[in-house]
Symmetry: C2
Subunit: 302 residues, 2 copies
């Protein structure tokens, strides 16, 4: 599982600060999360192959999280894309994109599917044999979802010594790694735990932006490998959180601690701050393993 | 009069190629012409003061000419702008912008006026005592206007020797520079030409993008100080002009020659070309004074 931060600043793009967008590689997927203005250029800069992006998740309809989407969709079209593209985002996103395509008298040369969201309960957006993606309803000025990306457990590992010891036919191996017990010809039942070791632990990534401090999410993101939580402000500006419905670095750290995640990644910094390292310092008083996101940063979760 | 090219490439923004946007300083105005994705960052990079932009002219509703507009409008809002903003562009532009503001549950803290265009005849968009701006209807796949920015003639210059010679009272100077003849007390009528020299020649800038070769515009842009004309292709790709309704460098040069403009600026290059100098070489076979636009280029018209 690998995360590339294309942009992690709030509000407006600047010469060296890009608004929210991330690429998550998980199993065989490359997911794009949010798409602020200029995301297509950031994808090029970070050498992300456009055709590998098949699913785009938009948290909410504030410009710093989706103004780059229509441009990316158009560029895919100009490049002659053939692969289907799925967009997951709040109700309204389809109307916004389609209106602009209509006035430009272009349509896409690939299939474009909109999955519009309006539920305030977590819902599964995508599931295959390796990965499951669900919404994390957040608490912001407009309807907003975070996203939880989870690997599914793989096959259990065959303990070859045990399997050979019981002289089990190879034909059964496939069902053994799926967790089946084995009935020997002599009538003995060998429990699966004797024949296999547990699969590799699964990884998960929780993206939570934008949101006010919202402990309701803790249960859903419990034990995540990594939590990206917005930290628009430092505690010195905590009084701005109520009206803007954003969080401080401290609040993000408290969520990380309560959820017992392995790692906290901070981002969505207000551009009023010159030194983002102060976010890490503030958070680490409450949760040890903190990284500050930076545009262009790639994190591999081993 | 001074032009700054923020972006001059067609189709899609790339790491080092920005889509169409220009800033024209003419008299006391700073006009923004087109607004491709990333324009707000290009404005910052080129140190253009946001508050000086009061009028934005959008040629047509293809993404590479307006996808940066909604972001710029939002950023003006986030920065607490108070100054009125006028947007001139094809019918539909208001619906597109307002829809996005509506879903983000924000409105602008400044007055935002849309002037929607649908005429196929030149029309005056803005006129004050120093400047006049009119549309140049073009010929593209969607409804498109170029824009003609013209200085108005200033006052005539007082020939002080003559004025003193006739012992004309200072109170008349203001009307003399406006072109009035003077009746002396002895009954002699002094024609204005004896008392004044003509004002400085006026300058004008014609922005013509996007368009197929369209000689109908020649009459309107005659003798312009500078013509920016799109040259998406070289003649080696002239066969693409019919379906895309774009021009070649040669065609742009022929328009410049017919219109007897002083200077031709080429731009809107297809990103298929590595060396844009070939556009200049091709154009100069037909018109001598050619400049290739480049992102970040500033041209002062003396």
């Amino acid at each position: 599982m690998q995360l590339t931060v294309l942009g992690c600043y709030s509000a407006t793009p600047r010469t060296f600060n890009h608004t929210t967008s991330q690429v998550l590689q998980i199993k065989n997927h490359l997911f794009l999360i949010d798409c602020g203005e200029g995301t297509q250029v950031q994808l090029r800069r970070n050498k992300v192959k456009f055709s590998r992006i098949k699913h785009i998740f938009i948290s909410h309809l504030h410009g710093d999280h989706f103004f780059g989407l229509v441009g990316l969709i158009s560029t895919f079209n100009l490049l002659g894309r053939k692969t289907d593209l799925h967009i997951y985002g709040p109700k309204g996103i389809k109307e916004i994109i389609v209106l602009q395509l209509k006035y430009s008298k272009t349509w896409t040369c690939y299939n474009l599917y909109f999955h519009e969201l309006e539920s305030n309960q977590p819902q599964v957006l995508l599931e295959d044999d390796k990965v499951i993606v669900e919404t994390i309803p957040l608490n912001h000025r407009v309807y907003t979802n975070g996203f939880l990306f989870k690997e599914k457990p793989g096959d259990r590992k065959l303990l070859m010594n045990e399997v050979l010891n019981y002289e089990i036919d190879k034909a059964y191996y496939k069902s053994i790694v799926k967790g089946k017990d084995i009935l020997l010809e002599n009538g003995d039942l060998i429990p699966n735990e004797k024949l296999t070791a547990p699969p590799k632990p699964t990884k998960s990534y929780a993206f939570c932006s934008d949101t006010a401090y919202y402990p309701i999410i803790v249960e859903q993101i419990k034990n995540a490998t990594a939590l990206y939580h917005e930290a628009t402000f430092l505690e010195s500006h905590a009084h701005l959180c109520a009206s803007t419905m954003h969080s401080t670095a401290k609040q993000a750290a408290i969520i990380a601690k309560k959820a017992q995640v392995q790692q906290l990644i901070l981002g969505h910094y207000s551009t009023r701050y010159d030194d983002i390292n102060n976010f890490k310092i503030e958070a680490q008083e409450f949760f040890e393993n903190v990284i500050c996101a930076q545009d262009g940063l790639t994190i591999t979760f081993d």
